[in-house]
């Protein structure tokens, strides 16, 4: 998904719960509002839901949610096993050009065919890097991701302070741990959005590290809960950090 402002990185917020929250985040500087739909999780019929924080939205509410942010880009995260042509058509009818698919597995061929038929591209989300994943990172290519619009990676969610770890790796150079240069090289090959542990102390430094780079954007994942595979922020903290990021990017 491209930013409206050429050369400026996109600020995306995932797992927005409703239109009120969406407008609050847009006012703070968000460029893209993400809603995560999963009816089976809401019906408590998902075998292993990624989240239990009540922030999923119903598929039936997608039109209202997308129309709640008419002047911004919205993106809906769909579970591949709940995708149907009707759902995709709803997204297209409401101006959507991209869907987000979370998880580490590729969508099955029938889902790819449905997406292609609907003319939608894909943001691959819900993937994360551990510090030692350099070899896998270096051979990662966009060719392996069908209908790729962007790849969203969480950077070191297994670290107490992922950004500090990334800075340390930058200082010590290439080695066992992924460095900022590794990420920027990947951004040169694949449209890349990064999620990292943002806070009031490091937001400016994070923006400075990536501003003007090939990185497509930064993402924030909303949740009151901690999650081993994501960096999460509550809505108020995200709202307070977005202006800092928006100014420096």
């Amino acid at each position: 998904m491209s930013s409206d402002t050429p050369g400026r990185m996109t600020l995306r917020v995932n797992r927005v719960k409703d239109g009120v929250e969406a407008r609050q985040l847009l006012a703070a500087g968000a460029d893209v509002i993400g809603f995560q739909s999963n009816d089976l999780a809401l019906f408590e019929l998902e075998a292993d839901p990624a989240w239990t924080d009540g922030r999923y939205v119903y598929a039936a509410d997608i039109p209202d949610l997308m129309s709640s942010v008419p002047h911004a880009q919205s993106i809906v995260d769909l579970p591949p096993d709940q995708i149907s042509p009707e759902t995709l058509q709803t997204i297209v009818d409401n101006g959507g050009t991209v869907v987000q698919l979370s998880g580490h597995n590729l969508p099955p061929p029938d889902v790819v065919a449905m997406l292609k038929e609907a003319g939608l591209r894909v943001v691959y989300s819900g993937r994360y890097l551990s510090p030692g994943d350099g070899p896998a990172l270096n051979r990662l290519s966009g060719d392996a991701l069908p209908l790729l619009d962007a790849l969203e990676l969480q950077v070191f969610p297994s670290e107490q302070d992922a950004f500090a770890r990334l800075q340390t790796a930058a200082d010590t150079g290439a080695g066992e741990v992924i460095t900022p240069d590794d990420l920027l090289q990947l951004a040169g090959r694949v449209p890349l959005v990064l999620g990292i542990n943002l806070n009031a102390q490091n937001a400016g430094d994070v923006a400075r590290m990536f501003a003007g780079s090939a990185l497509q954007g930064l993402s924030i994942t909303l949740s009151p809960d901690t999650h081993g595979a994501f960096h999460t922020l509550d809505t108020d903290t995200a709202t307070s950090l977005l202006p800092i990021l928006s100014e420096k990017l």
Partner: protein, 280 residues
């Protein structure tokens, strides 16, 4: 619209997302689908637990036989009471004699639990269905049959995620470390890959970090298609964490298997992983 009987792939052919915008259309079923669904519940190991619950609940829910009607007579043929359903969402009712009847959506007939080849919608499933329906309101557009199908698929997915390693079982996860204090990465990678390939999953080629700061670099590989696990790192030790470890990247975060007898000890640095500790 036809609703598929759950098959081995457990693909749910009609999902809640497909029902948005209104009530589900009247359903028709593949021939024999209801009987097949019951058979599935009774024969699939993955859903055996549900099936047991279903039967147990059905057993407790069944009213005592009406005097003068033996169970044998109910089993000898179809005992069907025609009762046009006023509400298409009503699947069960109790008659004046205390008998509980279930509606067969294929034929719109009301059937006794003992009817051969018919599904008896027990209280466990039915009450859960009604609870969710009540909470989700108009957004819940699954029919009871679809709900049951998804419930069975859920049970099977839960079981599949535990194969070949149940991540909630520390003993199973710890066993991945092997039997040597210091890990031989070639041997461990081969053993772990075999576990997954035997279970039907594909594993990527092994990456050996060429830029590692340790003289004994980690070996990494991906597991393709597993619902919970996607990467292994097998480190023989000597790196930034000093000791041997196995890292498992899962959809809920990182798990590391470490050895309390490692010398020097594993250095956690500033990780916030889940640790499984073995003593070898």
């Amino acid at each position: 619209m036809s609703v598929k009987t759950p098959d081995s792939s457990r693909h749910v052919s009609r999902t809640p997302a497909q029902h948005q915008g209104g009530r589900a259309a009247p359903l028709s079923y593949d021939a024999g689908s209801l009987a097949e669904l019951q058979l599935q519940a009774e024969t699939s190991p993955a859903v055996q637990r549900l099936s047991t619950l279903q039967r147990a609940a059905a057993g407790t829910a069944r009213p005592p036989a009406k005097p003068g009607i033996s169970d044998d007579s109910l089993l000898t043929g179809r005992t069907v009471q025609r009762k046009p359903p006023d509400d298409p969402d009503v699947f069960r009712y109790t008659d004046g004699d205390g008998h509980v009847w279930s509606r067969d959506l294929e034929t719109d007939e009301w059937c006794h639990p003992a009817d051969s080849g018919k599904i008896f919608w027990d209280d466990t499933f039915y009450k859960a269905f009604m609870d969710i329906k009540s909470k989700a309101g108009a957004r819940f557009t699954l029919s009871f049959v679809e709900y049951t199908e998804v419930q069975l698929a859920k049970a099977e997915k839960e079981e599949l995620a535990k194969i070949p390693v149940d991540l909630s079982n520390s003993a199973e996860v710890g066993a991945l470390y092997g039997s040597s204090t210091v890990i031989d990465p070639v041997e461990r990678v081969a053993a772990i890959k075999k576990l997954f390939t035997d279970a039907g999953y594909e594993c990527s080629a092994t990456d050996i970090s060429t830029t590692s700061s340790s003289s004994t670099p980690p070996h990494l590989f991906d597991v393709i298609g597993h619902p919970a696990i996607f990467k292994f790192e097998v480190h023989p030790g000597g790196g930034i964490h000093t000791a041997s470890y196995i890292r498992i990247s899962t959809n809920k975060g990182m798990i590391k298997v470490i050895n309390s007898n490692s010398n020097p000890a594993y250095d956690k640095l500033n990780e916030k992983a889940k640790y499984v500790t073995v003593s070898i």
